[in-house]
């Protein structure tokens, strides 16, 4: 019996040896067409089929395809939590493989990326960090987008729906509120978009204080629907649960990150979405052709509707043709650079699509001016005290990206 077993095991090993050889041969015949290697550090799995990592992975592979780079040239280290030690190890691994540009997609990678960029041995590698705020003038930038512009457009669609239904209550499921400028500016832009068409619109924010808890995302949407009778549920969280809850509650909704019409066909209006490939193409192309000038050409990237970096998903059948016309018109204004959300100019949009601009200070929900009437001063709260931000008009992007911590009038948390 033992003899038979040992022969069997030996046979299995021989077979496995051949199998292993076969794989190696395959890799050899598939010589990369170009030797430019792109590295990426992901927070979740590269095999995800939806969500944040999926969106970035999709963006990078799409950009590489457009640039004619074979997909083997993308080196990935995935499932890396926001732990500086682990991220540094991932960066070392990618650098040792010869990657010339390394992307890090999660906010908490910031320290590891900043440290790596300063290392002399990595001076010829470009480090590019999503959603962060650190950079240097040689080889380290950050990139993010004006998603608030898309949220303003979604707000218009929601506001028109609320007019149609005669219900001024809109709901917003948010992972966080005023704690982070990213969530805060999104909520404000959505509210301002809704108020442009329905001045009486009120946005009720239910903050769940966590990312990625699907049960809480669903429960928060249900609470909004039953408590305030909200007729549209918008969201700044990862899953489609709020949209499912909207469909169950027979109300409407605006998703986020991907077109959620498939998940909630009866409820979904439109979703603010990202086109990460727009940035990845620019970054990889520059790193390939002109790495020395990366910081002066690409630099700190903050693309919007104009660059095609952010957008809204096609309006679903739950929206009327008039909604589409109005949304397109406002979108064109932002694409042309004619108007932007966080300025001293407020839009009032009539049902027939006539847009009136009025110049006025922007007030928060406590009645304080947060953008002055002349549009030259931006304010944020500093230890509870409203303080002017240095830099005048130029402070705008910095406030939206990093320090906005108030809700505009018509937003209520709870």
């Amino acid at each position: 019996m033992k003899k038979v077993l040992s022969i069997l095991l030996a046979l299995v090993m021989v077979v496995l040896c051949f199998a292993a050889c076969g794989k190696k041969d395959d890799a050899k015949t598939d010589e990369p067409k170009s030797d430019f290697l792109v590295g990426a550090v992901y927070i979740n799995s590269q095999n995800d089929t939806a969500g944040y990592t999926f969106a970035h992975h999709n963006g990078i592979t799409k950009a590489m395809e457009q640039l004619g780079l074979p997909k083997e040239n993308l080196r990935i280290v995935d499932n890396i939590p926001e732990d500086t030690q682990q991220v540094s190890e991932a960066i070392d691994k990618l650098a040792n493989q010869g990657c010339k540009i390394i992307f890090g997609i999660s906010f908490g990678y910031i320290e590891a990326f900043a440290e790596a960029a300063e290392k002399p041995e990595y001076a010829d590698i470009i480090f590019s960090h999503a959603t962060g705020y650190k950079s240097n003038d040689k080889n380290f930038n950050n990139y993010f987008g004006r998603i608030y512009q898309a949220r303003y457009l979604a707000g218009i669609a929601a506001g028109l729906k609320s007019l149609e239904l005669g219900n001024n209550n809109l709901g917003y499921v948010a992972a966080w509120g005023t704690e982070y400028a990213e969530t805060c500016s999104g909520i404000n832009a959505f509210a301002m978009g809704a108020q442009a068409v329905n001045p009486n619109a009120v946005v009720h924010v239910n903050k769940i204080s966590t990312w990625g808890d699907e049960a809480k995302e669903k429960a928060a949407a249900e609470a909004l629907i039953s408590t305030y009778k909200c007729c549209v549920i918008a969201q700044h969280c990862d899953s489609a649960q709020p949209q499912l809850a909207a469909a169950d509650g027979k109300v409407f909704g605006c998703g986020y990150n991907s077109d959620m019409t498939a998940q909630a066909p009866s409820a979904h209006l439109t979703a603010p979405i990202w086109h990460w490939d727009v940035y990845y193409k620019l970054a990889i192309e520059t790193a390939m052709n002109d790495p020395a000038n990366f910081m002066s050409t690409v630099g700190i990237y903050y693309g919007g509707l104009k660059e095609g970096f952010v957008d809204i998903s096609p309006l679903s059948e739950n929206c009327t043709a008039e909604t589409k016309a109005i949304v397109d018109k406002v979108k064109a204004m932002m694409v042309n650079g004619e108007w932007d959300v966080f300025t001293n100019e407020k839009l009032s949009i009539a049902k027939d699509g006539t847009i009136t601009k009025t110049t006025a200070a922007l007030k928060d929900n406590k009645g304080a001016e947060v953008i002055s009437a002349d549009g030259n001063t931006y304010f944020t709260y500093n230890d509870g005290v409203l303080t002017a931000v240095d830099g005048g008009k130029d402070a705008c992007d910095g406030v939206i990206k990093g320090s906005m911590n108030y809700y505009v009038a018509g937003v209520e948390e709870g």
Binding site: N206, A215, S226, Q241, G414
Partner: protein, 331 residues
């Protein structure tokens, strides 16, 4: 805004969103009563969820889904039984491995095998079967309480029936007494002729199966969609492990424990609505930092532990041989 409606929905959701904790806790209590500490609740629930999804959906039947989640999670529990009972492996390590393996299996099937599994809501029988509330005659007519506690889906009642039945089984039947003996002093139980291995195997499988139904419930409640980046169980298995201590190894108290944990879990979401609906009496809720709500159940568990160890009269019901492998030759 209708104050009563907000309040009723708050109570209703305490039950609906947290019943999976009860399944997990009851399953774990059964296993712990046999003397095995199984830290794999999260993984076993994940396995129950994914196979309940697969088999239930292919049959388009909620009943089949429930049975499948019970059986598959039970079968998965055999791995734990073989490793710890037969092969005498360390229970803590094996339990943790079960979690890693179970959650990994969930992702492998749910995301790795196919990128486009349909959602459970697409299956009419399952969706309706889960969402249709079964109203208990008379009791469901009571204002507020009726809607909050006596008008739920079938799995809520099943969970409570299981918890009570297990309590009866453990405390009022001869087999239950023997099981407790196995958990307290397997050497003595063995000398009485109780088949220790059989008892452990059966109850590990039974407990795992019950956990599996809880996992399936989590999936049903989320509409069975795989597009989120987390496993459906999302840490509830770990809370169940804490709840066992909170409930002092009694499945009847586990019902209460589930409601207490659920109260804080749900209060976080409802703090805003409740504060707005009752500005005078509950307005303070909105000012409490959300992190406190997330921490409270665990703070309470710690307090219960302290209280139980200080209070000598009240005996802790933790089985004496919990976590220790039984090896006859070492008796």
């Amino acid at each position: 805004m209708n104050q009563m409606e907000v309040f009723t929905l708050f109570l209703f959701n305490i039950v609906v969103y947290n019943i999976p904790l009860l399944y997990g806790t009851v399953g774990e209590i059964i296993i712990e009563k046999s003397g095995s500490l199984n830290l794999g609740v999260e993984g076993i629930m994940a396995v129950g969820a994914i196979f309940g999804y697969l088999i239930g959906c292919s049959a388009n039947s909620l009943t089949v889904g429930i049975l499948a989640s019970f059986l598959c999670a039970g079968l998965f529990g055999i791995i734990f039984a073989v490793l710890t009972v037969t092969m005498q492996a360390n229970q803590n390590v094996t339990g943790l491995t079960m979690t890693t393996f179970g959650v990994g299996l969930f992702f492998f099937i749910g995301k790795g095998l196919s990128g486009s599994w349909p959602m459970m809501t697409a299956y009419s029988n399952i969706n309706d079967g889960f969402k249709n509330a079964l109203e208990i005659p008379l009791l469901s007519k009571i204002p507020i309480v009726g809607k909050a506690f006596f008008s739920h889906n079938i799995l809520v009642y099943l969970g409570i029936v299981i918890a009570i039945a297990v309590w009866f089984y453990l405390n009022k039947t001869k087999t239950g007494l023997r099981l407790r003996a196995v958990g307290e002093n397997p050497g003595a139980a063995d000398s009485l002729g109780i088949n220790i291995t059989l008892y452990k195997y059966v109850h590990i499988i039974l407990g795992s199966g019950i956990m599996g139904i809880g996992g399936y419930y989590m999936g049903l409640n989320l509409g069975g969609s795989f597009e989120g980046s987390n496993c459906w169980i999302n840490g509830y298995g770990w809370i169940a492990v804490a709840l066992v201590i909170f409930a002092n190894w009694s499945t009847a108290k586990a019902i209460l424990g589930t409601l207490v944990f659920g109260f804080f879990n749900t209060l976080q979401i409802y703090s805003g609505p409740l504060a707005n609906a009752f500005p005078d009496s509950l307005g303070f809720l909105a000012k409490i930092p959300p992190q406190l709500y997330q921490a409270l159940p665990f703070i309470i568990t710690a307090l219960v532990l302290i209280f139980a160890s200080v209070n000598k009269k009240k005996k802790m019901a933790q089985p004496a041989a919990l976590g220790l492998n039984y090896f006859r030759e070492e008796r």
